[in-house]
Symmetry: D2
Subunit: 335 residues, 4 copies
């Protein structure tokens, strides 16, 4: 961290600042120029509050040099993390496709699609039981019953299952779920992050609609700080001025996150674009730039899905995507 | 709602669509042009899923005409809502200033500032007990103990108190709090919205960093749909490309929300800008364009606040703001 | 400027870097920590290319401390600039309202509105002759003829006139215009900026739709570097994800620009919001937070304007806005 | 276009509106519901000003159904356009890589890189003579002399050349240039678009930093409306809140533009990300989702480029990218 002082700083305040910084076990290097003084802080600055320093009268500016995350930081953990989900590995060269319906609607639906997507090449099964919906009048998911049906689909298909938690009070219902998803709107639900950080279960963490990559990794850090190191990151589009797609899929985040962190990174082209015909090209693009996996919505009849129908594929269309992805995979970016 | 069909739609699918729309008790008006057919839906379309219709093969486009919110809609409730907080009224011509520290740090601090801001013109007191912090290594607030101290400050000053809830499991601790704040990062925490919708207590709902005004009102609608009509909206800046301020304060939202809803609307210039010297001009601007109140961070010593120091005023600086606001108030926009 | 080096930098490259920096007459201060070396550059760094340094193998990060603009910088010019437009002063405590139609359509229209807005309180007259329109099929303005009509309105009303230039090849037509406007889409048309920088005429520079305040000041710097110091800045809304208003009016830019620069700052609430009923509240807000003036669209019959009708006021509605602005002005933020 | 009227519209105004719409040769279909009247307009609505109609007292809302562009619209031109550049074809299955330095700096540099990128697989050569730079104090390009050097490199290498025009007054200098680039900051420089629309030369049009896909196509429409149908679109990143990359590369725009228009679409990963190590993964991703080509910055010594060094590759690194792109090309999305 670098602190730039204003001209002619009050000496008493400067002494206070320096003794406070020393109390945090930081090495202090001062460079005095004709009109500017720069203080370089060397050591572990993760707990130093930049805005607090910035508010001091004698300070012109503060700049962070080191990343504020440790557990998620590739610098301190150079090897790729491989997350093992009931034997299905993701990360470190292991590529997986997670597929399934946006919403769980019935036993027949959820079991049939599980068998269909398994046959088409998915290795993990997703289905929404608790659904975050913008409108209180829209279908909110089958909730507890939905999780039960998902676990039946798991038994029927043999695929490990992923589903989203919306509140920490629901966590006991997720005991037999293989991967717990923390959705985009909960990426900064810090109480929830702390709770899932105490679990012995992989967490699929989706990037928030308006969150930077650094904030994304800080949320992973919340989970890891609790002891749970099995975090899978998921890019799912950010909110921008462009309205032709539901969100703007930020694929450059894939190789950039790769350099920042050792955690696996997957991409959800269905939610990112909100347009089913874009799922195939964006799945190919995500694979090409080095994603460790994809998360794709599949529905037995897209036109009749109770939610998010616009972004779902039929099992046949999904198979076409999965096959194309497998073809392109050997030629994808390896870093 | 208006549905535009593709050329030569499949007749069977069209019949299915129409009978499905009829089953929702909607009036259907069809306009057949040379190459385009338009279906107008008249009636209560709040529960109709646009994306689902949009996904149908025969549909070119869908456009919503009526707002998807009812309880929060000024059309159905033309009179301004006045929220009464232990005798302090906000909305419908009643203007109030909420002030207090970002974080509660000690009994002395929280009680002293309460007395200071009351003397300076605040009519409601705020203080953070549970703090949403981006980093797991940053101070997370005094939590339960913080709420106890806030209630002591309430007793000492006589000011009703506002504080933020971060998870629905903490709600029992908020029984004696006068207004429960739902923070920006929880604006779409739908499970929390449902729970506070069951309470008999005013809710201060902050706009999310990347949420549209319509989504903001849909979140108010979640609370109101549960029976709690005492919702106060708070504009606190949105995330944009501009980084000179922490967020971009969207003041046009004040008169625009005024036309969309009957709920009171306040503005938080402290969090919106993140720069204490901007609090005064933006407080004046917010008042001028018709806000029903302000929410301002005040700290006894800004440079030593444990969090968000950069945006806090001293009590003396706050008094200067409050006085200037009272001077400009008679000349503000009245609609 | 601060350069942070990677661990164990190649010594040859480091020497090259340092001798290159020295060749730019910069003072160099090195702070060597256990694992990080920081180079502080002190002197005039406006011409130093940060990205170039950032691309060097041995560099971890570069941070700019000083602003890259000089002529527009309040640090080097603490007094407010007052721009004199044929006797009408703006800035440094002088507040002015610029009003007039989006497009010039006929002699009667342009002269009548000039008399109307003068009577209602405007001191400068605006009218569009060259119109930037998104569609090639939309009305593109009366062009040369429009400027002639505007000059007739100037004669008829006695008001100095402001109009937009769209290409530097048209500048000869602007000889008798009092203020030349550079529109938002041309804020980074650097060739145009250089040309208007050679003129002896005030320039009204509008902020680009997606430009930061620093970029805005860099564009002012382009004009001033050519010798023309009479630049008036105009905030007119930025593009964000919010679509309820045409753009998001960033009013915090007014006091923030005030601290960064000595140039006058005005606000255009008409283009910013695109909604005529928001012009009054946002005019009051802009005045309250310290703007030096307003730019408001006025049309004799809003419903029949050939362009931008949605944001125009009638002369009577404009008078109501101008009167309310004058009432609030004495209570506005003075810094 | 669909116009939704307010309840109980004034009958005189309604008649005026309808006769005005009839005067534009539009078919009018009215649907009268209990509380809403919908007017459907069928015919060529490209010249109808939505905002003007929206401003009418009797109108609640207006929605466009048909795209406002014709020449660029795939609906009216289903076959892919293939642009022929001195025998090098792009679009309709023809994939090309454009490479070269950001800035032309000397004869040796520009000729050497031309030979290098040709050997590595580029089929078109780019080099900047006129450079849009944010700072007036930064290198502005070699200008006229730069174009001469670029033409020497064309002769030396045999590669057709692409270079950017910054103002229409410079166009005579571009006579022997093969493709004229209109940069992101000029995407809505409508006077320039009109001028290049009169040329018999391919135009490479870059997407503006904050422009929607529809606005992008409207700018192509400006060029095509002048008679020049040889427009190549280039996605080069948009401005968002994310600052980890210079811009956010919006790759979903590639397949989406493909469905909207018949024009070729290329991607510039260098400018989009501003980080040279991201050029390879994003080149692979762009190819995978169906781009017709790439535009990549190459420099003989990235660390010493006079501008944009951070995003440039060496010829050897470029060859690695070009080879990987050729390997993945057969497996890319074909629509």
């Amino acid at each position: 961290m670098v602190i730039i002082l204003k001209n002619n700083p009050d000496q008493k305040q400067l002494e206070n600042l320096i003794s406070w910084l020393r109390s945090m076990d930081l090495d202090i290097h001062m460079s005095q120029g004709a009109s500017t003084t720069i203080i370089g802080l060397i050591g572990d600055t993760t707990a130093v509050d930049m805005e607090l320093i910035n508010a001091l009268d004698i300070v012109e500016a503060v700049r962070r040099i080191q990343e504020p995350y440790k557990n998620a930081n590739r610098k301190f953990h150079p090897e790729d993390t491989i997350v093992d989900i009931a034997g299905v590995k993701i990360g470190g060269g292991h590529f997986q496709i997670i597929a399934g319906p946006c919403s769980i609607e019935s036993r027949e639906q959820v079991c049939q699609i599980a068998l269909d997507v398994k046959a088409a090449g998915a290795s993990l099964y997703r289905g929404g039981a608790f659904k975050p919906r913008t409108s209180p009048y829209a279908f909110q998911g089958m909730r507890e019953e939905g999780i039960e049906l998902l676990l039946e689909a798991k038994k029927a298909s043999g695929l490990p299952v992923v589903t989203e938690v919306m509140d920490l009070s629901h966590l006991p219902l997720f005991e037999d779920v293989d991967v717990i998803q923390v959705g985009a709107r909960n990426m900064q639900n810090f109480e929830l992050l702390k709770e899932v950080g105490k679990l012995d279960k992989p967490i699929l963490l989706k990037r928030g609609l308006s969150n930077t990559l650094q904030e994304f990794l800080m949320s992973a850090e919340y989970i890891m700080a609790g002891g749970n190191e099995r975090v899978i990151l998921c890019e799912r589009g950010i909110r921008t001025f462009e309205t032709a797609t539901r969100n703007t899929l930020d694929l450059a985040s894939v190789p950039l996150l790769r350099s920042m962190t050792h955690l696996p990174i997957i991409v959800d082209p269905s939610h990112a674009t909100g347009i089913s015909k874009l799922v195939k090209p964006m799945s190919l693009a995500a694979t090409a730039c080095g994603a460790d996996g994809l998360m794709i919505e599949v529905h037995n009849d897209p036109a009749h899905a109770l939610c998010d129908g616009a972004q779902s594929l039929t099992p046949a269309a999904f198979k076409d995507v999965a096959d194309a992805v497998q073809q392109i995979l050997p030629f994808s970016y390896k870093g």
